[in-house]
Every structure is written in C-alpha cells, then in structure tokens.
Amino acid sequence: MKTVAVVTVGAVAAEVLAEIELCLGRHFGLESQRLAPLGEPEFAWEPARQQYSVIAIMRELLRFCPPQAVRLLALTEKDLFIPMLSFVFGQAQLNGTLAIVSLARLRQEFYQLPANPPLLLARACKETVHEMGHTFGLTHCLERKCPMSLSTTIQQVDGKGENFCANCTIVLRESLQLLRSPDMLRTEEQP
C-alpha cells in the first residue's frame, strides 16, 4: 500500500491536519499515514529575518520519511523563507519526496483580519495540492484556476481552485500510474 506520510513541524491545529488528509485522498487517491509530531524547528530560526529557513527544515525532514511512504508532507504554522525570497507559502522537491506547506500566511490574522476557519482550510488544501503536485513532476501552470498556477500573494491563492486543470491531470495521472504499476504487475503474475 502506497501512503503519504504526514508530519507536523511545531504545533498545528488538529482540524487542519484532518482536512489535509482528506484532501490528499481526494486529489491523489493516496492513503495518509500520520507520523509523530515534530517539535519546534529552532535550528531553522533566522533571527535577522524573524523567519524559518525552509531549506534547513527540509534537510532535517528527509531523515523522517518512513520506507513504506512514497511522499512526506510536512505542515507547519511557521513563516518560511528561502534566501532569495522574502517568504514562501510552501516548498517541494520537484519530482522528489518532500513537500512542506506553511499555514502562517494562509491565515486571515496574518493580514490583520478576523480569523476565518473555512477559508483557512480551503487555502491549506490548495497549497497542499500545489506542493504535492510538484513532487509528482508538475511545474507551474498558466491556467489561473488550476492549483498548480503560481501564487505569490494570498489573493492569487484565493483566485484558484483545488481541482487540477486538464493538462495537469494528464501529467499527474502518468506519475501516479508509474507509482502503482509495480503493484499491478504483481497482481497479473498471480494465477
């Protein structure tokens, strides 16, 4: 059974975690496997920027991917950055194993607005689909409604949907088939 291991980095609300797991099943048809939560990523704290280095966190996370899992998805409330950019909503290894999504800038509170739990869940789901999409080889999509379109502002996140466009669906399906084909071969061999 192919699974996605899901892990939290620092404290993450339980309802968000549950929603993300449902989302993974909906869009990738993959079962999720929750790992023991990880503590605060103090090693990745960058005082000068008052943010966490997503590269440092990812480097650490690679050690936690269980052998039976095909992907490792990390969720965090921490505000993440890469050196070049002032912030990122998430980061993933293109065609790799690891994806991470930050909830910090998906919350209305970050923009000094009243909390909006359903909106947060919707945004978290879109960004999870986006980062997971990268691990399946999808690059940024020009279709603005597609979750694979690049969003660098919260308005762009809200502007897109959570369902892949036709083009991205084709690429994703191929990647998923590659994942499953060894299993299919085994079933055929049985008498």
Partner: protein, 452 residues
Amino acid sequence: MKMPWEILVVDDEEVMRESLAAWLREDGFVVDTAAAGAEAVAKARAKDYAIYFVDLKMPGGMDGIETMMEIRKLHAEAAIIIITAYATVDTAITAMKEGAQEYIVKPCNPSEISLLVNRIIKVKNLQRENIILRKKLTRHYSFHDIISKHPRMLDLFALIRDIASLRSTVLIHGESGTGKELIARAIHYSGHRAERPFIGVSCAALAETLLESELFGHEKGAFTGAVAQKKGKFELAEGGTIFLDEIGDISPKLQMDLLRVLQERSFYRVGGSDEIHVDVRVIAASHVDLQEAVQRGTFRDDLFYRLNVINIHIPPLRERREDIPLLARHFVERLSHELGKEVDDLTEGALRVLLDYEWPGNVRELENAVERAMVTCRARVLTEEDFAFLNHNKPERRGWVPPANMSLEEVEKQVIVATLQRTQGNIKEAAATLGIDRSTLYDRIKKYNIPR
C-alpha cells in the same frame, strides 16, 4: 517540439544559488548553476542561456560585473539579471549601465522573480517567433534561390516564368556577383527543359582555341593533344540550356562561330566535317554593356541582336538595399546548416552595418561576408563586431574635394573617371549616376581622352 528556455544562476553562496534554482525549476525552466564567475563564463561558452542571474558580490577572481561583461561578449542578446543585497543597490544601478537588463534585491518578493522572468521570456518568445516568421518571409520572396522583394526583381521573377518555356535566346546583364547564373538556372528549371541538362561555360576563363573545343568539341587528332574525340558543351546540352557567361570577352572568330550556331542551330566539331544539329537554348551573360561594346566595335552587332532577343538586367545590390536583410538572413539560415553552427539571426546593429556598405561585389560579396562572420562569431546572433572587417574595405564615402588650383574641366574629367571606375566601365550606369545622357558622356570621354 518547443525548445525549453535555459537559465544560468551564478552565485558563490550555495543556499542562495540552490534556492533560486529550485524556485525557477518549479516554474518549469531548465536551470544550471555556477559557483564562480569563471565557471559561469565557461558554461556560457558551451551553451546559450536565455537568462543569466548573476550575484553582484562574489569574492576572488571575478565579481558579478566582470562576469556579466564576459557573458555579454559571448552573447550580445542575453538577458542578464544582477542579484544584489539591499546595501549595494547603487552598484546594481551601475551594473545596469554596463549592460545588465534588470537587477533584483534579495530577499525579493516571490512575485518579483516570476514576473521578471515571465516578462523576459515573453520578449524572447516573440523574438523567436519573429525569426520563424522572417524565415517564412524569405521563402515567400525566393524564386529558385534568388531572393528579393525589390519590385524590379519581382517583375523579373514574373518575366522568367513567362519566358521559361520559350527557346528564345536571353541576354542577362548585371555586375559581377549579382547572380546571373542563378537567373539562367531559374529560366532553365522553370521551363520544360528542366529535365534536360543545364550547362554553364565561363567564356572569360579560357583561351580562344581551348574555348572553341570546349564549346564545339573536337575530332581525334584535330590538334596536338586531341588524342580522342570529345563532345562539346553544345552537344552535351542537347535538349537543354547552355549558359555562356562573360560572353563579352570572346574573340571575333568565336563570335562568328556562335552567330552561326544561333542562326543555323548547327556546327562542326573542331577538325570535323560532320554538321551537328542541336536543339539548345542559349542564355548569355555579361557584366559589361554589350551595346556599348558594339558601339566601340569590339562586339559583332549581328551577334548582339541574335543574343538580345530577351534582355534581362539585374540591378546591383546597392540599388535594392531592402533585399540586404532578407538575403543576409537567408545566408545565415543556410550557412548555419552547412557550417553546423547554431546562429539564428543578426542584430539590428549588424544589419545597419550591412545596409551602410556599398557591396561592390554584390550578392556574392554579401554571402562571403556572412560566411566569414559566421565562422568567427561565438554567439547565436551576428553582431556589428562580427562584421567589423567590412569597415576596412569600405570605399571612401567622404565627398570628393578638389584641390584649390584645379580647373573646372579637370574637375569634370576626374569625376567622370571616378564614376566609370565605380561602374566598371558601364556607360549607361555612369551616365545615369552623373545625370547626363549617354551621348554626352561619350562626348566627354572623347574630349578628355579618358582611357577605358
């Protein structure tokens, strides 16, 4: 399939380099990285990247500006983006004066990089489309390898189609290098003779007796060295076309022989007694004005009228400058295949140099110039510098300033001499350039005893 655009990220700091590369890869680009200026230049030499991100501050060897300038030498059209820390924005602005296209301050807003890259790629895509479009356009203006959009040449294409299936003799006049043989071939291959041979003979290249045997063949023992019977070009061209280039140079005896072939459609091999009948279309060409040669008495008038049934004049390249970009791009495309070198286009600067040049050697000289530039160029586009050698052969364009003590007549004589030199003795052209009619020009030539 569409070629993906490639990007080179140059930064000595690994985290910086890798994070930008990863971000760009997510965007679907093929990204290479370099940790130092020298490494970047080496990579740029091996590959033509669409965009270069270069960190301004790199310790040791080359800093960002030096790296950028080296890349710029290799790829004049490359988009170079300087990456800088907030503290050094002033230097970044200096960098832009040195040829950087943009600068970004780190850490930058995520939307900034994507917007920047997308904007550059949009322009690059347009340029690529333009190149493809222009190549199509070249095909549109080409007729059997002759390329032009000049109205007189387009008329000429139509004329060639009209006369292709006739047997009438054609006389082509044009300066050397204008493509007289191409026109002759176009006539041959557009008509029903296309399946039969096209045989070209340069009359200027051979001595009289050799040319005679070349054209008409010889019998065994006709002269010393004639150890076997040999068929001449007229026989070999049977059913097809014979192209006699530089016909103005043939001797009076050969002029008479040719006249006979044109009148009788038959001839004798050298030393032979059998009359040989041929069905051959004759196309003759000359860089000198044969009509003037007739007036001077060096060319038979009866032969001239036989040859001049259909007259084609090819204008020199300097009179159809709009063809220069078209031809230059055509040669770039063709030579990039032949030389196995990936060159797509010429810069505006390069075209300006070509348009400014006089092209005394016409299309052939242009072709040679493009080839020479392509052999030495190191980028995907030919720049002004690649054609620097043209400035050495550039004729003096400064007005002619007569010395103070020169008489008006002396001035007139010198102007006529200079003009005749430029037109290679072509009276018609010289007269047109001087704004006088031909008989006036003849009068002056006689008056000043100008040698020709």
